[in-house]
């Protein structure tokens, strides 16, 4: 007995789906740690640009997590900066799910007064030529956040212009710009509401200390 042609074709197609998935899964498993290490390195490289000048600690070794003020499971990572034990500010790594093509991870530097030192993109999959204007290597758009705070512009104006706010959008990438502005606003609101929570893991009630040597975001729940 021979199978109908269409069944045989479907079976072979399914077989190749299985083989393809297995191959990709295997490589994913082999490269996962290395990719996480490389992504961590990107964060460390960007940290210097957003941390307050003159800190004398190693913020990357005092990093801890705190729940994301955005409706998103990946927690914030906070890198507090001190000079002679006086709090100067912090770099906040936040992931937003609102990007045009998946999540966008940002690094936001905020000083002790709640003023933004700088914002940098750590990871994104936005459209080349449009949404990738959130990379400082491609456009100056990110510098529009420098020196801003929750009262400057007023909180109600912390939106892209298309939403009636004070921030320029990105031509052809309104969704990307909105995701970034909204994420920065959410972090600033959280920072203003609970400044203590950003001053170090010992000040924050719902913070989770993490091992700075551990790689990657704790996708599998908080690491101990």
């Amino acid at each position: 007995m021979t199978l109908p042609v269409s069944l045989r074709a479907g079976g072979i197609l399914a077989l190749f789906v299985g083989i393809g998935l297995a191959a990709v899964a295997l490589v994913h498993e082999q490269t996962r740690e290395q990719i996480a290490t490389a992504e961590r390195q990107v964060v460390l490289d960007r940290l210097a640009a957003v941390l307050p000048d003159g800190h004398d600690n190693a913020p990357e070794d005092q990093v801890y997590e705190r729940p994301n003020p955005l409706d998103h499971a990946t927690p914030l990572r906070i890198y507090p900066a001190y000079a002679e034990d006086t709090y100067l500010g912090a770099a906040v790594e936040v992931e937003t799910p609102e990007g045009y093509a998946g999540t966008i991870r940002l690094l936001i530097g905020i000083d002790a007064d709640g003023e933004i030192i700088g914002v940098r993109t750590v990871a994104h999959r936005e459209t080349p030529g449009l949404g990738d204007a959130i990379e400082t290597a491609r456009s100056d758009w990110m510098y529009g956040f420098d020196g801003r705070a929750l009262g400057d512009p007023p909180e109600d104006d912390w939106h892209v212009r298309q939403d009636g706010g004070a921030f320029d959008g990105i031509t052809g990438a309104t969704i990307t710009a909105r995701a970034v502005v909204d994420a920065v606003r959410a972090v600033l609101i959280d920072y203003t509401a609970e400044p203590e929570a950003y001053r170090g893991v010992e000040h924050a009630e719902d913070a989770t200390a993490i091992d700075p040597q551990a790689d990657g975001h704790s996708d599998e729940g908080p690491t101990g």
Binding site: V5, V17, I19, V27, E39, D132
Partner: protein, 214 residues
């Protein structure tokens, strides 16, 4: 195309006579978008070369067990699997390059030059010639990426091999040749410059072909 072409003609076609980018004008989206520097062109070129060679080999190996009706989906699956694998490997060990190439690395899947070779050549030929054809096609495509990237980088920024450390490690940071300080002719690295640059290469190639009386 039941007859197997000679190695010589496979290479002549892939590299020049039937070049994927310059003659078939396939895969232009990544070609035009990525070639702002020679190094980015080289990176995408190598990735494309790996994918087209590996998928040609596999497509040739499975050519007799895949029914006609589902061959295109199966070929796409094979190509997509290799692209994902290459993407993961680049993300792990060449992370800076991964960030430069961005979305164009996964978009190799949609490079019709690869599917075209799978369908027109690899699915009708034994493994050996299919592998050679993949190498020839990939090399021909990569060569255009590199030349166009170098051309645009040189005219647009006055540098050559900027960012070589992304591909070759920190030791290569000093390879950059800076001929002129600052941006020179910015149009060259903007999208219109890509089209103008490609048109130039096409014109040069046709001119050479004409000279040799084909």
């Amino acid at each position: 195309m039941s007859q197997t072409p000679t190695t010589r003609s496979i290479f002549r076609d892939g590299l020049w006579g039937n070049n994927a980018a310059l003659v078939q004008l396939l895969g232009l989206c990544p070609l035009l978008a990525v070639t702002t520097t020679a190094v980015a062109g080289l990176g995408l070129g190598i990735a494309t070369l790996l994918v087209v060679t590996a998928s040609s080999v596999v497509v040739s190996l499975i050519r007799n067990i895949v029914p006609q009706d589902v061959r295109i989906p199966v070929f796409i699956l094979v190509i997509a699997a290799f692209v994902t694998i290459v993407e993961l490997v680049v993300a792990a060990w060449l992370h800076d390059l991964y960030r430069t190439l961005g979305l164009f690395l996964p978009l190799i899947v949609t490079n019709c030059a690869i599917l075209a070779r799978a369908e027109a050549f690899a699915s009708r030929q034994p493994v050996g010639p299919a592998a050679l054809d993949g190498i020839a096609t990939g090399t021909g495509f990569a060569a255009v990426l590199i030349v166009l990237g170098a051309l645009r980088e040189l005219i647009g920024r006055g540098t050559l091999l900027d960012g070589a450390e992304q591909l070759f490690g920190p030791a290569a940071a000093g390879w950059t040749v800076e001929l002129v300080d600052g941006d020179v002719f910015l149009l060259a690295i903007l999208p219109p410059g890509a089209f103008i640059g490609l048109a130039l290469l096409l014109a040069i190639k046709n001119r050479i072909d004409d000279r040799h009386g084909r």
